[in-house]
Amino acid sequence: MNIGNTRPVMTKMLPKQTQFSGGLNQFVRTPQAGTFLKLFDYERLPHSAVNQIKLIYGLVIISRIRAALSRGSWNEAREHATRDIMGWTFWFYAMPAVQRMFVKALVGMPKEYREALLHHPDGAKPATGVIKKLGWHLKSLFNSEMPSALQIEARCEQALNLIDTQAKTQRWKQTAVDGAKKQVNEYFHKLKNYRNFASFTGLVGAIALLGFGVVLFNIYMTRKSMAASQKH
């Protein structure tokens, strides 16, 4: 889905308006928010906007590398680069992909749950072409529609409302209505749990990789490099 302006930026080309201008020029185009605000305005105070965090974290990484170099340590600079660039990417881009990968790859998840958790924006997988298929899979990891647990709860409530409406208007047997509610509830409960387990996998993956893996890898690499430099 395209995001952006639906109309060209015309504001600057229009004549300047005075407060009491009327007639033909009476409509001043709505002023554009501008690139800075569109990127970095707060979504909800007092939380930082995600784009702000991206920028700040990105530049802080540079400052860490610079500070490491200023005390003459290439090893430390390399450590910061490895750890933080990986952290930046994982925080902002890889975690949703890991969640989608979980849904795609979890063995034993019935189709009725899988198709309710992931929807590819382009629809069905192309029948031919290795590259086309690969592109389709990549796109599905980053762009496919995936509901949050709250959205699933909202859908559950809608389904229960549907049953209620039916029960009111059509005079179904109470046992049938109760059974239907129970079955619908079970389905959504399980769907939500699959969704939450996907989130959990993303979280555990992030912590394992960024909290432990990269740190240990860095220590290993630095020791190796120190040992190698000592041999000379």
Binding site: M1, N2, T6, T18, Q19, G23, Q26, F27, T30, P31, F36, D41, Y42, R44, L45, S48, Q52, I53, I56, L59, V60, S63, R64, A67, A68, R71, G72, S73, W91, E115, L118, H119, E145, M146, A149, Q151, I152, E153, A154, R155, E157, Q158, L160, L162, D164, V177, G179, A180, K181, Q183, L191, N196, F197, F200, L203, I207, N218, R223, A227, S229
Partner: protein
């Protein structure tokens, strides 16, 4: 075990309590531990900031500090702790806090009396994101062209907004509804339910006509929860006329009178606006409930044609923005001098005045420069506050790594070294505490890579092997 609804629906669905008693046996995902994990993950997942904090504190600060301390000693442990904690505070929170503080100062009457920052009395406590503000402003333009009377313009704007909301999860949501109904065992009931889905929750993800009507009623109607909220415009108009009399009685006139009146009205406006924001919860709740029952879900897009002008907006904050725009911008522009929304047909000149009040601009730098339009003025304020907040955060974030360098250097008597490569050079350790000639020379040699500290490759879990 059943899905915990985000609103208590047990009262209207007594049957739900039956299903809680019997957990299905077959699925591992239904077990007690699984539910705890799933609920925890949901709490983290639904709150972006919480997600970042948990990943950062639980996943980065604690394990990283522990590992670094164990493997490479106290210097590295300290540096890591400072780096990671500042990473959480600065990267995740600082800009938000500074922004909140900035807007608080901007809305404060006391600060305004000193600095005259907010001549238009724009209340940014009723928060509207810049992109939403632009989208709403563009819709207002269209509505002003189409509508004949102020009340009609308002109605057309509301119609346009409600027509262009779509659920973000339209496809998967619809699939999940049908799949859930497939589970119903009673065949005739199942068929009837499947048939009723499209009428109640359209596959397009848009609102049903019934829900649109209800939402419109809440936003405009006399008997809606909205009616319980203070009408800011009327209160301001009344206050202004009273205040004029009072100020004239004190002997003010001309420039001084208008100045004093403007200031008083501005203060009153900010005061009333915050009161309205505090009282808006029931309206928002009613809006959210109506929208959820009308086929939307927790996240929405706002379309213009077939493109999304706003995407992935959370439902309730979106309605909060809609409400704020109606109160802070549109009503203020559309009402007459009595603060009332009339049904009088508007002249072209009046429409021009309204457009100017909404959009008219002179985009001079500086907060105090006169701007006639509410929207450009809001942009200007937002630019200043967020730019200052982000820039300050960047400066703080930048200084942390250098602070770490300085602290380690100070702890070792001016010796420059990276604890990542081991402790300080052993020859220099004896002189630590005062920068001797030897340590300075050593320092220079060390950082120019001529002297290496005796650190070899050591197995990982051997505690502090390298030291």
């Amino acid at each position: 075990m059943h899905i915990t609804p985000h609103k208590p629906i047990q009262t209207s669905h007594p049957v739900l309590s039956l299903t809680t008693a019997q957990a299905p046996e077959h699925a591992i995902l239904f077990s007690g531990v699984g539910d705890v994990v799933a609920n925890l993950a949901q709490k983290i997942d639904t709150n972006r900031i919480l997600e970042l904090t948990v990943t950062d504190v639980g996943g980065m600060v604690l394990p990283r500090t522990a590992i670094e301390y164990n493997q490479r000693g106290s210097d590295m442990g300290r540096e890591t702790l400072i780096r990671e904690i500042s990473g959480t505070l600065v990267n995740v929170f600082f800009a938000g806090w500074l922004g909140a503080l900035g807007f608080m100062l901007f809305n404060s009457n006391a600060v305004h009396r000193m600095l005259r920052l907010n001549p238009l009395g724009v209340h940014t406590g009723a928060w509207i994101n810049a992109k939403s503000l632009q989208a709403f402003g563009e819709q207002f333009e269209e509505a002003l062209k189409a509508g004949k009377t102020p009340a009609q313009v308002r109605e057309k704007w509301i119609d346009a907004i409600l027509d262009s909301i779509v659920a973000q999860d339209a496809h998967v949501g619809h699939t999940s509804l049908h799949n859930a109904l497939d589970k119903v065992t009673s065949a005739p009931l199942r068929q009837a339910l499947h048939a009723s889905v499209e009428g109640a929750i359209p596959q397009s993800g848009r609102l049903t006509p019934k829900a649109k009507k209800l939402l419109k009623h809440i936003l405009t109607g006399q008997n809606s929860p909205w009616a319980g909220v203070v009408n800011v415009q009327e209160a301001i108009a009344r206050f202004a006329s009273e205040e004029t009399g009072r100020l004239k009685a004190t002997g003010l006139s001309g420039e001084a009178l208008s100045h004093a009146l403007e200031s008083a009205v501005r203060s009153k406006r900010i005061e009333m606006s915050s009161a309205v924001v505090k009282a808006e919860a029931p309206v928002l709740e009613a809006l959210e409930k109506a929208a959820l029952q009308g086929g939307l879900s927790e996240k929405i897009h706002l379309l213009a044609g077939d493109r999304a002008v706003l995407s992935d907006k959370a439902l309730k904050p979106f309605f909060q923005e809609v409400k704020a725009f109606l109160e802070q911008y549109m009503d203020r522009v559309l009402v007459d001098s009595q603060g009332k929304m009339t049904n009088r047909v508007l002249h072209a000149a009046e429409k021009g005045r309204m457009t100017a009040l909404m959009n008219g601009s002179s985009m001079l730098p500086g907060l105090k420069k006169a701007v006639t339009g509410l929207i450009p003025y809001t942009y200007k304020v937002k630019r200043w506050v967020s730019a200052v907040a982000v820039f300050t955060t960047l400066v703080v974030g930048f200084s942390v790594a250098f602070f770490n360098n300085w602290l380690t250097k100070k702890k070792h008597g001016g010796l420059v070294f990276s604890p990542a490569e081991g402790g300080p050079p052993p020859e220099a350790q004896s002189t630590a505490g005062g920068a001797s000639d030897a340590s300075i020379i050593n320092n220079a040699l060390y950082s120019s890579r001529l002297v290496r500290h005796n650190v070899g490759f050591a197995p990982f879990m051997q505690r502090r092997a390298a030291l």
